[in-house]
């Protein structure tokens, strides 16, 4: 299962990254006289209600997801590593404060922050700014779960026999952290990174569906899914289901490649 999933994902990533060259039209160009057109030469998947080429928008939306979900996952993992490393310092106050912050981040209903973010962005906000802010916020909000895993791992390491052996050998704390502890954290960080990518792809899709994600005219899988709210459009042009099909396909591939939760812990 992993080989076909890897090949399919690689294909999707290549399609997304090559969007500027593969897309027949700019993603935001409105063909005013071609609104809601059926598939036809020049518009293989038809156009949306504003006359924008669906295929071009899908390719660019794929580019957004394949670039930014891993970026957001990187932000989360780096923040989690930073805070967990700070929590491992001898200061109990720092550890307590970070534990409290972790609890707060896990408890907060983050959707309200996205609502606030969208309300603060003016209608003519640069699409790149909107998409960057959306994924950056996801990345920052998402540090708490990997942070808990890293902290648990670091706490476990503090009692490890190999740590005692390294100290007894006279190794400096910095060498113990970088040469001995880091290999353990690195593999955990990779697992957490791979778990977060599908989570962020799906989060963006959910936020986009609610109009809280990437702002128009920048396409994302989330805001393309909004077309599915109109059954008559779906019935008239089944190609509107293409973003959903692609999302489901990518999620299945990612999930089949994602390490189990057991491995993550």
């Amino acid at each position: 299962m992993t080989r076909p999933a890897t090949i399919l994902l690689a294909l999707v990533v290549v399609l997304g990254l090559a969007a500027p060259w593969l897309a027949p039209n700019p993603y935001d160009h409105q063909f005013r006289d071609m609104a809601s057109a059926s598939p036809q030469p020049g518009f293989p998947m038809g156009t949306d209600d504003l006359g924008r080429d669906r295929l071009s928008r899908l390719l660019y939306a794929t580019r957004v997801s394949v670039l930014l979900a891993p970026s957001a996952a990187t932000i989360s993992v780096l923040l989690a590593l930073l805070f967990s490393a700070l929590a491992a310092l001898p200061s109990r106050l720092v550890a307590w404060t970070l534990s409290l912050a972790n609890g707060i981040f896990l408890s907060l209903p983050w959707i309200f922050l996205f609502i606030i973010l969208r309300s603060k962005l003016s209608l003519n906000t640069d699409p790149l700014v909107s998409v960057t802010l959306t994924f950056a916020l996801m990345g920052v909000a998402g540090w708490a779960i990997p942070g808990r895993a890293f902290t648990a791992s670091i706490v476990e390491m503090k009692d490890a026999g190999w740590l005692l052996q390294a100290r007894a050998a006279g190794l400096r704390p910095w060498r113990i952290a970088t040469a001995h502890a880091w290999p353990h954290l690195w593999s955990l960080a990779l697992v957490q990174f791979r778990i977060l990518i599908p989570a962020y792809v799906l989060s963006e899709a959910s936020l986009g569906l609610l109009g809280l994600g990437v702002a128009d005219p920048m396409p994302s899988w989330g805001n393309l899914l909004r077309d599915l709210q109109h059954p008559d459009v779906v019935q008239a042009n089944p190609w509107t289901l293409a973003p959903l099909a692609l999302l489901v396909l990518v999620m299945i591939c990612l999930e089949s490649l994602t390490p189990s939760r057991k491995a993550a812990l």
Binding site: K158, A160, G161, W162, L163, L164, Q165, A166, R167, A168, A169, G170, L171, R172, R175, A179, H180, P183, H184, S187
Partner: protein
């Protein structure tokens, strides 16, 4: 300099005292075995001597003199310079005490660089503890080693900087009988060839008696008897030592 190590310490975890005024002197080239039951404070003593007990939540009071230097007043960086260089520590479980993610060569290099700046060839060291020194072995991760190989690697790491004293905390407890005999012989050879003093901590009086110059008996955090192996075996004085000697396995075969 009359002794390598001279100490008198007490240690406690919270309000529970686990070592009470335990005192001993180890001369250069001497092998002293500290024997006691599980929970008698043996491992606590090893960590206390290295001043690592605080990482297990313990507190040590008293004096520890290593080659004339008082260790209890040294700063942490001062202790780091002692650990691994003047005192080698051999822990009991290779499975837990070797970082399973690291390759043998990384463990050797990291341990070497703790006290030296130039790179070194570890072939001679590995051969001295009867480990292969080929690339295939060096590239192995510690988690891939057998228990016997792991224990020998721990001994090699402890010996790397030519310490004056080896602290061996139950180094044979995880080994089978043949590997145990091999490791005990190795300690004996290290002592003879390098003149390294050894504090051998064990629960097994029988196994350590053959290589020790002196045996100290630890019972409930106190040293209750000290003497040559022959004296301890033949004329044990303390009731606990008598119990320990009486409990030693004897081979009785059916007719």
């Amino acid at each position: 300099m009359s002794s390598v190590l001279d100490f008198r310490i007490s240690a406690s975890y919270g309000t529970t005292e686990v070592l009470h005024q335990v005192a001993a002197t180890i001369a250069p080239g001497e092998i002293v075995s500290l024997v006691g039951l599980s929970g008698s404070g043996k491992s606590t003593l090893a960590l206390a001597l290295l001043r690592l007990l605080r990482y297990r939540g313990g507190v040590v009071t008293g004096n520890i003199r290593l080659e004339g230097t008082e260790l209890t007043t040294l700063s942490e960086s001062g202790m780091r310079a002692i650990r691994g260089r003047r005192i080698g520590y051999v822990p009991q479980s290779p499975g837990l005490s070797l970082n399973s993610r690291l390759r043998v060569e990384t463990l050797l290099d990291e341990t070497w660089r703790a006290h030296a700046s130039r790179s070194a060839n570890h072939r001679g060291l590995l051969e001295s503890v009867q480990l292969p020194a080929d690339t295939a072995f060096l590239r192995k991760r510690a988690g891939e080693l057998s228990t016997g190989q792991g224990q020998r690697l721990l001994i090699a790491l402890a010996l790397m900087h030519g310490p004056a004293l080896l602290l061996a905390d139950e180094p044979t407890s995880a080994l089978d009988a043949i590997a145990q005999a091999g490791v005990l012989q190795l300690f004996g050879r290290i002592n003879r060839e390098r003149g390294t003093a050894i504090l051998f901590i064990s629960h097994d009086l029988l196994s350590v008696a053959g290589i020790s110059h002196r045996v100290d008996i630890l019972h409930e955090g106190r040293l209750v008897e000290s003497g040559s192996p022959a004296a301890v075996f033949r004329t044990p004085q303390h009731p606990f030592t008598r119990q320990l000697v009486a409990a030693m396995p004897r081979l009785t075969l059916p007719d």
